[in-house]
Subunit: 424 residues, 2 copies
């Protein structure tokens, strides 16, 4: 096996990870003097903010997954490789992948984060993560199978376990998924399963800190909590999850909740690749970088996005681990790489907060722009507009838009399939 | 475990299988005096004529999979159970399923057919079937993974094996899938994989009998062969496949073709459920029924669709195993079941041939109505119209239509994802 990258004489930038940062960087380096190798475990970019829509059968996986080869059709200096990166050998400027070795002149880590179980083995074993399209799809299959199972079960305790859902983590993902599940429960499930008694189904949102949506203001947090409770979600803040045995969630106050379904959106931890100095990591496995996204102690290794830990005066604890910093860092790094080749002056990165938002169900959202905060239906329209505009490709945008409009007016979807590829 | 079907005092019709026949029958019995139990292994109906579109990344699985619970929303006399049927106990009028026993007054078998490997174990082991959405999806994943693998392979023999595709079976499925693959090869793959040399990729269509499209006229068969060859498919009729070891296809004339990918669309065999008399089966495991679709030797057991073998004067070898006879039989059986409850006279079934059609690639098809045959672009429009009209649900029809129009004008899709649900 060999990675088979042609030798063109160009300086080579190897980008690991085609998330928001890696994808943006590759796009910015398209048709530049560099040869770019973009490596990802999947042959597609995943639009993470909408994973919860796949999990709740609101969107097709393909609506939020973008084949990398299609994105870069006709771009000659970009080479895509679907591979696992096993090790970095910074001494000899190469990485070792499942397809063999790839040498680099500049290496960019956009490897992102995965679910953080905070060392709790039982939770890792039994809880349901939602950090990839594949995981979201598995969650969709599982929830639908639960209703099928509940239908033919006669034991009230079993039924409780099948129907109840506990979402842990009061960030945007937790708020969005619990809100959407509550809407499903209210509007769609009783129509699909008239034989089931959905008054027995409880949806919980648990958050360890005193409030939800910690990245947003008190007003937005309160409003979103109010919306969630209106939809029927049982929101419990200052509530710690101690353990989960696949049937009961054990809380910090000694109480338990009966459920088979614990959706874990409580935190993330950086993905790690062997080979770099241990000194570069801080808590959560983030990698310390300077204002040029250069990894501490290395000359030609960079990190961008969720995995990168960069401090600015306004961000002493690093940037929020969301799409915007990743994309802005990619922009800046692309500028610097191009400047470098022309021996021009490099530009230090500075984060521009464009605001944050979270949606709660069908037509309620909370939006905070740096200059203005608002909530409700208009906020939901803004949320939708911003997300549509961020999505790659005209067609997907149009189809998602039609899907959403349809969903909005009919309150119904045709995606409630328990569907798995049948490998031989 | 119990199947938990409520007792309503109504006579109960149990339908096994939600294919074209079973689904149609259930729809016709909606809001009738019967209680209907519709059982399928999946929670969705599969639109079989378009499996090849899923396999070639032209359509989303959800565009051709229809959740049964959504189809029957608001219909009170229909109970859906996602279950495997293990055994029929006709003595005591009940079936044994993976969810427990279900009793019936009338039992209808719409269990369809699966891939027939004609007893060739190696082919069963290594060939790729295409008789379900799940299998079509697995085929899509596999073909795309092959291109990724070919890209990093340096052994010409390996590359040949990865790129070449042999389709066996010259019926509509074989014609459609080989034609679409040839179009992918010509139009899309060189853009996605500029580093691969697609002149090395060969697509074969093999058929044991002297011609393709045996259900259609010589003129249509010739025309479709001509279209396929224009697209670059190597069509070999009167060619028998003897064996396949996962790397070479061994033909009747002693020659071999190097490929890892043998798509098997050469024939079907009826699905079998334990418990019925061995006397009812004829070749291909089809079940002998009378003109009322009643299974030979039983009073209240019926079979419809592909699995049913009914002879008429014009059809001494039974009806073609396609959607139309299944749907027409379902119609007739629904009429008879309703007549039975009112003690009215039953109607014997008689098949009305509405014609047949097959498409070859983007804008060529062959269509045969009973009164008129034609080919080419107009035939393709008719093919598209008929298939769109057959598809359940306004929204899916609209989205598929937009998809197809887009596909037609841009010659490109965004579905080339290697995507699997990640179960824990």
């Amino acid at each position: 096996m060999a990675a088979n990258i042609p030798h063109t004489g160009q300086k080579r930038v190897v980008i690991i990870g085609a998330g928001f940062g890696g994808l943006k960087l590759a796009r910015k380096l398209a048709n530049s003097p560099y040869q770019v190798v973009l490596i990802d475990k999947n042959n597609y970019h995943q639009f993470q903010p909408l994973f919860y829509q796949v999990a709740t059968a609101g969107l097709e996986p393909s609506s939020i997954s973008f084949p990398l080869r299609k994105v870069f059709q006709g771009v000659k200096n970009i080479h895509i490789r679907v591979a696992e990166v096993l090790k970095i050998d910074a001494e000899s400027n190469q990485i070792i992948t499942s397809l063999g070795e790839i040498s680099y002149d500049h290496l960019v880590l956009g490897i992102g984060c995965d679910t953080n179980y905070f060392g709790m083995d039982n939770i890792k074993k039994y809880a349901i993560p939602m950090k990839s399209v594949s995981e979201a799809l598995a969650l969709r299959n599982r929830l639908l199978q639960n209703f099928e199972d509940a239908l033919v079960d006669e034991n009230p305790d079993d039924i409780e376990g099948l129907l109840n859902i506990v979402v842990v983590g009061g960030g945007p993902t937790g708020v969005e998924v619990s809100g959407t599940l509550a809407e499903m429960k209210n509007q769609i499930l009783p129509k699909d399963y008239p034989e089931l008694d959905f008054s027995k189904m409880n949806i919980y949102l648990l958050e360890a800190s005193p409030r939800t949506l910690n990245v947003m203001s008190d007003a937005s947090a309160n409003k979103s909590k109010q919306y969630l409770e209106k939809l029927g979600v049982i929101v419990k803040t200052a509530t710690q999850v101690k353990d989960f045995d696949g049937k009961h969630v054990y809380l910090g106050d000694g109480s338990t909740i009966r459920t088979n379904n614990l959706i874990w959106a409580a935190g993330v931890i950086g993905n790690k690749i062997e080979g770099l100095s241990a000194d570069i990591y801080i808590r959560g496995n983030r990698i310390k970088v300077d204002r040029y996204n250069k990894v501490e102690g290395y000359d030609n290794v960079f990190a961008i996005g969720d995995i990168a830990f960069m401090t600015e005066e306004k961000y002493p604890n690093g940037h929020p681990q969301v799409a915007q910093p990743a994309m802005q860092q990619a922009d800046n790094l692309a500028y610097n790489l191009k400047a470098h080749i022309k021996n021009k002056k490099l530009k230090p990165f500075s984060y521009t907060n464009l605001g944050s938002m979270a949606t709660v169900g069908r037509n309620l959202a909370v939006v905070e722009f740096p200059f203005y905060k608002f909530q409700g239906f208009i906020a939901w329209l803004v949320w939708m507009f911003v997300h549509l505009m961020s999505i790659v490709g005209v067609k997907n945008r149009l189809l998602i838009f039609i899907n959403w409009c349809w969903n909005y007016f009919t309150y119904d979807q045709s995606l409630r399939l328990i569907l798995k590829a049948k490998e031989k």
